[in-house]
Symmetry: C2
């Protein structure tokens, strides 16, 4: 890119920065409305039970108790928006019955005038359960145990895909390694607990819902179905949100549906807000997986075959289980040129809290297994792990067999080389681990993640831009910003194209009433899919501006340029007008024009480009305690083009921290379906003092389909951290951990086996 | 119009009906926000004074008092949006000084935590005034009295226009009549008092203002100037509003500016709400005018000359004084083919509460004078007043000399004929007035009023329509609905063009953040200007729909039709798809499309078409008491096309009632600048029992530039009521009242002169 940009590629301060530091940013929990009721859920103490009877008679007598809603009447949403595609599939989305399937599964919701009354009322509800045998182990779900979690059985989904001929592939292999990997039930652990909404159902039959969802438009769709309302009778507004990571990627179990039914019954605003314990024990988590992987390569280090068999545990209900397995497939197959690839996935129900979307969406699990395998093979054939990757990764120009499209940009080689240089890979790789109990090692891993979900999901982006008479602009977008900074990035795209100063672009609230269907935040899609929509809307607005400017400057609009708020004739630089003067003239001053400048664009992105990255983890293992300390993480990612480098670095550093957590400490622990660490005191999120230096390196491969060459980053930065850490531990102490998270206990166990 | 419409021309229930009857409609006074402060104004007890010093020290000590704003720092807005046109004119809009110019002129505003503290604080403020001599009579403003209300003098505006040659005109006249007319200081008297807003200035530098303004975008503009903010930092949201009639047509004196400054100082939401007394004594009223008119006609009843000299009293400040005088000119000259017309207008300042925009905008005053003159002349030459009008009115096909455009539609003849038939004009005109003290009479008058203000003001309309995946739609418009029902009408236009059921069109809130510059509610413009924008936006959306439908139905999109939600091939009726199925398919189902349907349009209307009307008033005058009872009003108006006939009838009936008030009872009474009837107990608004049957007759002339042929109605229906009543009184008892309002006292006085 030789063009000098004024807004793209600049680390502008995020537009929500001032709001957040001054406290004027309103989060869902800050919302309060006149006449508002408060609601809470009564949750099942049983992992699996029939609810025979709910007796609310005592609770009803309490002054201030206003309404009840039970699972007998309010459906659960048990699929995601992919199932909105037609009427038949839609019916599979909703389940209304009298069975609870995990500890914490909602049974009823109560709305009351204050929290104390609510608590008293919940204590007065009598529920008659008929406990059922529960399944806790996903392997049991596959057996004929007589326990059926869902009518259609305990297998939620099965997929089998083969590329090439897997048996023939293994015949050409000189080295074959086969291992089984386990991954944990990681939680999103966002700063703001998952699960707050205010539902306001009015007597005119319209529902307004304030919810910290990643997918405002899909919440609108689900809720319209649940209430039998038209889409224009349901308005979803997303307030500021304190992190999401996939945890707000759909209708949060029991929240929006229950809350809006209570509001419908009372015609008052109703607020429901989950506690941290409820967030941890009853909202979605990462899918725990068991991944058996058999990988073959030639002695020259060329990968020839990979056989993958995944058992994924989606818990009691599953919204994202198909997509998560599909991402294991696409990211696993897409990353390496392996001619023979067999992929099998089985998703089962268990009586545990649900699994769902979590940053990486199947990829971190798959990557942990596959990148561990690669390290093992490289070691077997005595090849530097980096050289091994460079030999086998699938570069630009190759076809991706899963997505069935050509890879147009791939900066992986640059990621590896820059990451190696920055991390001191070569030197540290040959350095002895050290004397005494503290052993140092360095490991690497690579990754691919898709940007957005073009053609794999209904995945539209949309944007509208209007220019005011003072030359400032407003960008309307439903691109839900959960804290990642996407609204800032989108404003930069608009600013760049319109030649309007970045600070003069305001970005709207996220509100389904004012923006057409937009797929919100998922799949690392905002800079790319949102950016494309904003780009196109800005181009449309720009064209309209230039037509007016051409009339005023008496020149052809196609020879006009806009820079820093000045529209000028490229062939006669003195022939110019400021954007402000132009807008003033055409909107107000010349009463024969009074034209408005609006640009709007929407639709799906032309591709789902992969973004790539290499992580180099340097660790120190205490062989006496099994304790692992990550000393330094060097994370190099090809983001196509960093529209706001500082925000990209923020994503990389944040992903690194979450990745170390996934590697070493994070995971919900269950005892017969009971989550024993539902909060920050027991769920070991990395503390500030646990976080090593994370060195972010940005590589720009210029994705041709992207806005200014950009593609994704959000999820990717955590995907391959655990595998890099596992590979580093092996390098330090020679033990191979295959079970996440890699606690001191497990490491010590492995060390003692040696 | 032979086409059968499904939505246009139907009296659908208004879309805000349910909200209003169930109480879910939120008016400005209903708004309450967390942490909100309340504010009130301290107002001048002097009609004219210098404010030497304001001592707030005692008030500051009160617990709960949070901020002060004085006229020393907060500018008054003393022009209207016409002055936004360039930087020089803009500077004339704002005045910041230490002079108060009428009793009730604000001096300072206080914000406090509750109303009681506020009241105590106001009582503790000490103001040092230097009283100045005041001008109460507009004639004094013309004299050299040494009193100067504004720096530039006491004459706010002067205009002189001549068409033809006035002296030559009078030379050809056989009959000349000359009279002087006076009109009252009528008040809007809307159900919701004028003057409530909540300003919310946030620490991020953005101001959100909830205000029941007719012109949300112009409030946005004024406030941006006052606060030195960019337009995209000021958001104006208009809640439901209980009537406006022009009284909310601009920045309400002392309200939005003061309130937003208090919010800026405290960074808390601040609510200010005028009492009814404040509304009546310190917000704008109709301009009282003295109109000298000399009219000449031939003995055959052909008008040849009219000379008009108006003295208009704009009070202490004047926002709309130029436009109001301009409307006297255009409506007076436009209505009749008078070859020689001389028009002179002078607007003066006096130390009274301001005059401003009020339904009719100068036309009711002018019409009262001119239509009285016409009656007098018709009588002099012994011609039926209706015949006289039919001979002289300016029909379609003629050029309008003021607007300099051809009249494309004029249904006045039909109005006269239908009105005459319905009212029993012919019979009642020759019926003796009756024996005893009660004398009956019938009078008529006609009118012309312009629709909108194309090319005379910056007058853009705008609309955006988006279609949801279930085939319902959302219409975004800033067309401020003050209760007239314009949002309903605009939804009907969208429904008609898109073939989407009326109830499936939702209309957005009025919010400057989501809609481009729109001129709001003024000049009877919404059905016409708003309707044109909605029509164009809907046509654009429709074209996009038909392209997709053509692809799916494998036919040319230009042979497709939409009716009742079904898109079909006009040449193969079985080849069809429902709007719902189409939208579902292109938005969600076919993941390779995911298209959105958005249409947006904006700009000015191509014309400012006149709408016409004839009113027949039947009265009964008690010659002993002077009391006048209107027995029946027959009001026939040519609205081009009634998009919602019931709403048009509502406007006609409401206008009739307001017109009778203007004729007989309404007017602020002043004693040395002090308004002595600032409320409903003393200001005589018509009570339900005073209201006669008002018979609305709709005439449709099909204005070719209008949406489905529509033009305006809102203001017109009150314009010519007073003149019709005056003419009826003359018919009943032979006395000619030239002074509004025509109280029993004045009538008795005239009767006694006889």
């Amino acid at each position: 890119m030789t063009e000098a940009y004024t807004s793209v590629g600049k680390s502008f301060q995020r537009i929500d920065g001032v709001d957040k530091v001054t406290g004027s940013a309103k989060f869902a929990t800050d919302l309060s409305f006149a006449n508002m009721l408060h609601a809470r859920l009564l949750r099942s103490p049983h992992a699996h039970a029939v609810v025979r009877h709910i007796d609310t008679s005592d609770a009803e007598k309490l002054n201030g108790v206003k309404a009840f809603a039970t699972i007998f009447e309010v459906p659960k949403v048990i699929q995601y928006w992919f199932f909105l595609r037609n009427e038949k599939k839609k019916q599979q989305m909703f389940l209304c019955d009298n069975i609870v399937r995990f500890i914490g599964d909602p049974i009823l919701a109560i709305a009351a005038t204050d929290q104390e009354i609510l608590e008293n009322a919940l204590a007065l509800v009598k529920v008659e359960y008929e406990p059922l045998k529960a399944i806790h182990d996903p392997l049991d779900a596959l057996k004929e145990t007589g326990v059926t979690i869902h009518k259609q059985g305990n297998i939620a989904f099965k997929v089998k895909k083969e590329f090439g001929n897997i048996n023939a592939g293994f015949e050409t292999a000189d080295v074959i390694v086969e291992n089984t990997y386990h991954t944990s039930k990681q939680k999103h652990a966002s700063i703001e607990p998952i699960g707050t909404c205010v539902a306001d159902f009015q007597s005119n039959g319209r529902l307004t819902l304030y919810s910290s969802t990643q997918l405002p438009h899909w919440s609108q769709h689900y809720l319209a179905e649940i209430h039998g309302l038209s889409l224009n009778a349901v308005r979803v507004i997303k307030p500021y949100t304190g992190g999401a990571f996939g945890g707000r990627c759909g209708l949060i179990h029991g929240l929006e549906a229950m809350c809006s039914v209570l509001s419908r019954k009372t015609l008052r605003p109703v607020k429901m807000s989950f506690s941290r314990t409820e967030d941890f024990s009853a909202t979605e988590s990462r899918h725990p997986m068991t991944i058996r992987m058999k990988t073959g390569a030639t002695k020259e280090g060329i990968l020839v075959a990979n056989e993958v068999d995944i058992l994924s545990d989606t818990g009691a209900y599953g919204t994202h289980y198909i997509g998560v397995i599909a991402d294991c497939l696409s990211t696993g197959v897409g990353l390496y040129k392996i001619p023979h690839y067999s992929f099998q996935g089985t998703v089962v129900y268990t009586n545990k809290s649900m699994s769902g979307a979590l940053r990486g969406y199947g990829n971190p699990q798959m990557n942990f297994a596959q990148e561990s395998q690669m390290d093992i093979i490289a070691q077997k054939i005595n090849l530097d792990p980096m050289e091994f990757r460079l030999k086998n990764y699938r570069p630009a120009g190759e076809m991706d067999p899963v997505l069935n499209g050509m890879i147009l940009s791939n900066g992986l080689e640059e990621c590896l080389k820059k990451g190696a240089a920055s991390s001191g890979w070569k030197e540290k790789r040959v350095r002895p681990p050290g004397h005494g109990p503290l052993k140092k090692g360095i490991g690497l891993s690579i990754m691919l993640h898709g940007t957005g979900a073009a053609r794999a999901l209904p995945d539209p982006g949309s944007a509208t831009i209007m220019i005011h008479s003072d030359g400032t602009a407003c960008l309307m977008t439903a691109a839900a910003d959960e804290g990642q900074g996407s609204r800032t990035v989108l404003a930069q795209v608009a600013s760049q194209i319109l030649g309007i100063d970045f600070k003069d672009i305001r970005v709207s609230d996220t509100d389904t009433d004012i923006t057409p269907l937009d797929c919100g935040t998922h799949g690392s899609r905002q800079a790319y899919c949102g950016g494309l929509a904003v780009r196109d809307a800005a181009v449309q607005a720009r064209e309209k501006i230039l037509v007016h400017a051409g009339n005023i400057l008496k020149t052809k609009s196609n020879q006009l340029r806009i820079e820093s708020g000045i529209i000028f004739d490229a062939f006669n630089l003195d022939n110019k007008i400021s954007m402000k003067d132009l807008m003033q003239k055409i909107q107000i001053q010349d009463m024969g024009i009074c034209a408005q400048i609006i640009g709007s664009a929407s639709g799906i992105a032309p591709a789902m480009p992969g973004y790539y990255g290499a992580v180099f983890a340097e660790v120190e293992v205490n062989i006496r305690t099994g304790e692992v300390k990550v000393l330094r993480l060097t994370s190099a990612y090809d983001v196509g083009k960093a529209i706001n480098p500082e925000l990209v670095r923020g994503q990389i550093v944040g992903g690194g921290v979450m990745g170390i957590g996934f590697a070493l400490t994070e995971g919900l622990l269950l005892d017969k379906g009971h989550i024993v660490n539902p909060g920050f005191s027991d769920y070991r999120l990395l503390r500030a003092c646990d976080v090593p230096p994370v060195i972010p390196i940005i590589v720009e491969s210029n994705e041709p389909t992207g806005p200014f060459g950009a593609k994704g980053i959000g999820e990717g930065a955590m995907v391959n951290v655990a595998s890099a850490v596992a590979n580093a531990i092996y390098h330090a102490v020679g033990v191979r951990l295959t079970d996440l998270c890699m606690t001191s206990e497990k490491i010590l166990g492995e060390l003692q086996k040696h």
